[in-house]
Symmetry: D3
Subunit: 132 residues, 6 copies
Amino acid sequence: MFALGVSDHVMIAHSFADPFFGPAQRLHGATYAVDLEVRTAALGPHEVVMDIGAMRDLLRAVLAELDYRNLDEHAAFEDRLSTTERVAEHVANRAAERLARLPPGAAPVPGSSVRVVVRESPVAYASFERAV
Amino acid sequence: MFALGVSDHVMIAHSFADPFFGPAQRLHGATYAVDLEVRTAALGPHEVVMDIGAMRDLLRAVLAELDYRNLDEHAAFEDRLSTTERVAEHVANRAAERLARLPPGAAPVPGSSVRVVVRESPVAYASFERAV
Amino acid sequence: MFALGVSDHVMIAHSFADPFFGPAQRLHGATYAVDLEVRTAALGPHEVVMDIGAMRDLLRAVLAELDYRNLDEHAAFEDRLSTTERVAEHVANRAAERLARLPPGAAPVPGSSVRVVVRESPVAYASFERAV
Amino acid sequence: MFALGVSDHVMIAHSFADPFFGPAQRLHGATYAVDLEVRTAALGPHEVVMDIGAMRDLLRAVLAELDYRNLDEHAAFEDRLSTTERVAEHVANRAAERLARLPPGAAPVPGSSVRVVVRESPVAYASFERAV
Amino acid sequence: MFALGVSDHVMIAHSFADPFFGPAQRLHGATYAVDLEVRTAALGPHEVVMDIGAMRDLLRAVLAELDYRNLDEHAAFEDRLSTTERVAEHVANRAAERLARLPPGAAPVPGSSVRVVVRESPVAYASFERAV
Amino acid sequence: MFALGVSDHVMIAHSFADPFFGPAQRLHGATYAVDLEVRTAALGPHEVVMDIGAMRDLLRAVLAELDYRNLDEHAAFEDRLSTTERVAEHVANRAAERLARLPPGAAPVPGSSVRVVVRESPVAYASFERAV
């Protein structure tokens, strides 16, 4: 089993309108350091999981929709809280959609999966993984 | 698959009474940087694996029993060496017990598992994972 | 020359009402990982710069005033932008005030200085240093 | 499930003779920070996955064959590119061979697997895992 | 005293034609993780040392001249070895030149200095600092 | 101004017989991650601060005297507590002695200084600097 991972980050504002979250009910924010990992059983014709530059661009494109935004007003979180778990899920889903649309020569071999880790602070992270 | 992870650390003394361990037979010590990860197939009603503050408190409570201690004299290691592997297993077991005792609204959804990573130095770590 | 450093973090929202800042004019946020360093020419009677637990508590007290807040509405940034440089300056000033008020046995020896480093992302940080 | 991991690094030169790789077709190089992880269902007689000093020596021996080398001229990459994925695979294969040759008392218990993570920069890594 | 720092990296090949360097006489390479820090006594009109985006672009422009290159054939190292110290010096000199050419509104206030840290592996780095 | 830095670590036990230290009066321990930095105004004949392999060996030799030891019984701390500040001072002093004894071709140029940073946990460190 092979994997390839790339890293980037976003800076967002949000709040959690649920008393469960205590002080995080207030408007605050986060730097999310994001790792995107693609896992495949085999390498493609160029002996890589996929082009690493293309993978960094793909992650940037997904994150650009969130960067410097207030997630309380973001379409992706209209019907859900932007918890770190949900942000990881959102990034993984968007990344999987983009990976699935890549032409055969550029995409990972069939059967790949993705894992997204979102680190919100030096002491906390959430992750989500799914098939592509 | 979702996961949520938190980090903390302890500072302990210990020794390994087995010639297999060479210089580590002498009384020495370690700072253990500990990650606790909880994995679940789905999020709970608050759209998180569990409350991250509660999870940090849970890890602290487990680690407080070890912190600033000589593990050679600790009840948890009476019948076993406090190798990094055993420390990871101990922390995972204690965390799983505490997670299993949480009330339904506060606990991860049924079927969760835990993974504990114990980093003993910049170049070495051990981990243990199990079902909750 | 001795130094002692401790680390903590805060999660805040803010925006920069100045076209100079491009997309950071929008409401966004940050996790600020903060290092507080105290530098002294000599150690005190207990052979430390100061009690490390007291220093962590001091940094936490300073950061608690910012944590889970929108800095656009914070009294400390009424007449200034909450740029990372200004946040570092604010934390250093507040820390220096608290250090100056410590009783002789608990404070660093006279002539100490502080340096605060505020890391806003994996690729950017600001710092500020001053005398206590 | 237990795991034990150790870290080391190598500094190599290489190039990728395939237009797919853009500027990486030119002769360049990398510092590869390498993690070797051994996973086992149970600990051995000494309550560890294996001796951590022996594991660091094993990883060093595998990496020494690559260190300060131009991989374009290395026997291990005669018929393949030395992409980060291939380097991870090579290190895992060599480590697995060496683990399989250890005497019973020194080897991990039967049924173990290895995972090698090769970090090529602060924003990119590849990994490979296989049975021992 | 304020400082602002940004990070980036390059991947290069080189060799050291001097028996002093042992195995590093062979063609090898490195990933250099580079921090550029600008220090000033005061902030500019926008309450920052300088625009952080402009500073990241400036560092990228300096590093682009080295990236994916064999430094043995690079004009900047024709008359000197590309030791990590020399690479730090080169990056600091080029960065200082570019900072000195910035228009008044975009440049740090007069009297600033730069420090460049070049990390070549998890266990080694070199740095160089100078006035702008 | 140039600097060269290398990293290593030690694992020690100790206790602080002074009520000032609260729970750290108990026998405990630490992994100390140690950075040794040598600063010089100019490079030597080989265009480096000093040979990096020799510098790593020097740091290892200094740390080997502490590794896997109980510092309560160590000759270096007979008349002083082994606080992190004192450990940094001890390592810097021993490193400076060894640097001063190097033959002219191997030593840093005259006028160099050393800085030692000792990281005791993810949230705390101490440092000491002095002339060679």
